[in-house]
């Protein structure tokens, strides 16, 4: 598992390296230009710079997601799939390693995007003292209710992992049906839509059943719905692993 994780990380780093460095350099330039030109009033040029900066932040959210889909697709049917599928390790471990690294990468990019936002707001006089006090206030909230924070974090990671796993499942199933990208891509989109519609319908039915619920940061969550989410996650994981092991052909 450790070997698979390091291999997946290496692949991600090789893909992200240039894009990541480019975005950071671009953001640094934009921040510098903003700092030099900003004199307590906004104009069109500054607005344009801000727009570009926001675009780079959005790119940080979108890029890893697109890369995850592209990379998984290539791992199953690209020219390197021979190497990927020849690795003598059982498929569920391969799927799990890809999932862990993908969740980690998205988490990293979310943190990076937040850091970019905070840094840029500092350029416009949002003083470091204010930022520090905001952080202290957030930290105090976490200290006051660490259990809620941990549950919230687990819930967030689980939701993200479920989403990525669903994408993996749809791509895998479409590759089983057809190896040709022209056919496989619309099939995987179709499966994704059908799967989510079915999930939404079942969730609606579950919500009608009176069950114990819990409150997390102001929202109510049903225990039954949470159990259903976990069962679905397990089923999709087993299904994806089985398809990769027995049905994917290079």
């Amino acid at each position: 598992m450790k070997k698979l994780l390091s291999f997946e990380l290496l692949k991600k780093w090789k893909t992200y390296k240039i894009a990541l460095i480019s975005v950071i350099i671009l953001q640094a330039i934009l921040m510098l230009v903003s700092r030099l030109t900003f004199d307590n009033k906004f104009d069109i040029a500054l607005g344009f710079i801000m727009f570009i900066y926001v675009l780079t932040i959005m790119l940080m959210f979108c890029f890893p997601l697109i890369e995850i889909m592209y990379r998984y697709n290539k791992d199953l049917s690209g020219k390197q799939s021979v190497l990927e599928l020849s690795i003598p390790i059982i498929s569920w471990k391969k799927v799990l390693a890809k999932l862990i690294v993908s969740v980690g990468c998205i988490g990293f990019f979310i943190l990076l995007a937040l850091a970019s936002l905070i840094l840029y707001s500092a350029v416009f006089g949002y003083s470091s003292e204010t930022i520090s006090s905001d952080f202290i206030s957030l930290f105090n909230q976490i200290i006051a209710a660490p259990d809620k924070f941990i549950i919230g974090l687990i819930y967030g990671v689980f939701t993200l992992a479920s989403f990525i796993l669903t994408i993996y499942f749809c791509i895998t199933l479409s590759k089983v049906i057809s190896h040709k990208n022209k056919i496989a891509v619309p099939i995987s989109i179709g499966i994704f839509i059908a799967y989510n519609v079915a999930l939404w319908f079942i969730a609606q039915q579950i919500n009608k059943i009176p069950a114990v619920s819990f409150n997390l940061w102001g929202s109510n969550y049903s225990i039954l719905a949470s159990v259903f989410d976990i069962v679905m996650f397990a089923l999709v994981f087993v299904g994806t692993s089985w398809l990769v092991e027995n049905k994917i052909e290079s």
Binding site: K79, Q80, V82
Partner: protein
């Protein structure tokens, strides 16, 4: 000891029968040639042996293990196309093989790399087709695998590189393992293979010990190929 045992193997793609009733036995220490025209099912069979394709029917075992992730650790497979990432340096490819294949022999790799006139700091992206082929074969032969499967190891390479690859095959072969080779350049392999299988439209139409076949028919393997497939 039997390394590879294939019994009644078949593979069907929708309506197309790619392989039909294939029976092959490869014993330890043997080099086996698999010859046939394009589309005869050679690569399909090789990929099934490597665990990259699932057969539709029949049985296949490698060192008495049924097809699965365990047999992948027993087979070193050279595909007929480029399979390494462009961002890799030869050193990276070596590290990945060391990481995932317990039978990877680093010393053998270094010797073969020298024979192929390649160096660890070369980037895969900058290698020519022939150099990529030499690197792929170096990686494959550096594994002390029970079964080495080479799909068209001489395709698209110049005569000098061809000579280097043939030397590497002989240098990399151990009598503790077996080798299955497919190629259209039959003359190049005539002197190194022990057994031969001729494949036509997914079926084995001729097979046996090379020396016996040559003695019986008074023909070279290449002449025999032309006779069998010209019909």
């Amino acid at each position: 000891m039997v390394i590879l045992e294939v019994e009644g193997l078949s593979k069907k793609y929708l309506s197309k029968q790619a392989l039909k009733d294939i029976n092959i036995t490869i014993e330890k220490g043997k080099i086996v040639g698999l010859f046939g025209p394009n589309g005869s099912g050679k690569t399909t069979l090789m990929k099934i042996v490597a665990g990259l394709i699932q057969p539709t029917g029949g049985k296949l075992s490698i060192c008495e293990h049924n097809l699965g992730y365990i047999t992948k650790s027993l087979v070193a497979y050279l595909p007929d196309s480029d399979f390494l990432y462009d961002w890799m340096k030869i050193e990276d490819a070596k590290k990945i093989y060391v990481k995932f294949f317990d039978d990877f022999n680093t010393q053998k790799f270094n010797e073969l790399l020298e024979l192929m006139q390649l160096s660890c700091n070369m980037k895969v992206k900058s290698l020519s087709k022939g150099m990529k082929e030499k690197l792929s074969i170096t990686l494959t032969l550096s594994r002390d695998a029970k079964l080495i499967v080479l799909d068209e190891p001489l395709s698209g390479v110049d005569p000098i590189a061809r000579e280097q690859i043939l030397q590497a095959i002989l240098k990399g072969f151990s009598f503790e393992s077996s080798m299955l080779i497919t190629s259209h350049l039959i003359n190049e392999f005539e002197n190194i293979i022990d057994e031969v299988y001729y494949l036509k439209e997914g079926q084995i139409i001729l097979s046996g010990n090379v020396e016996m076949i040559k003695d019986e028919r008074h023909k070279t393997l290449d002449e025999l190929y032309r006779e069998v497939f010209a019909q």
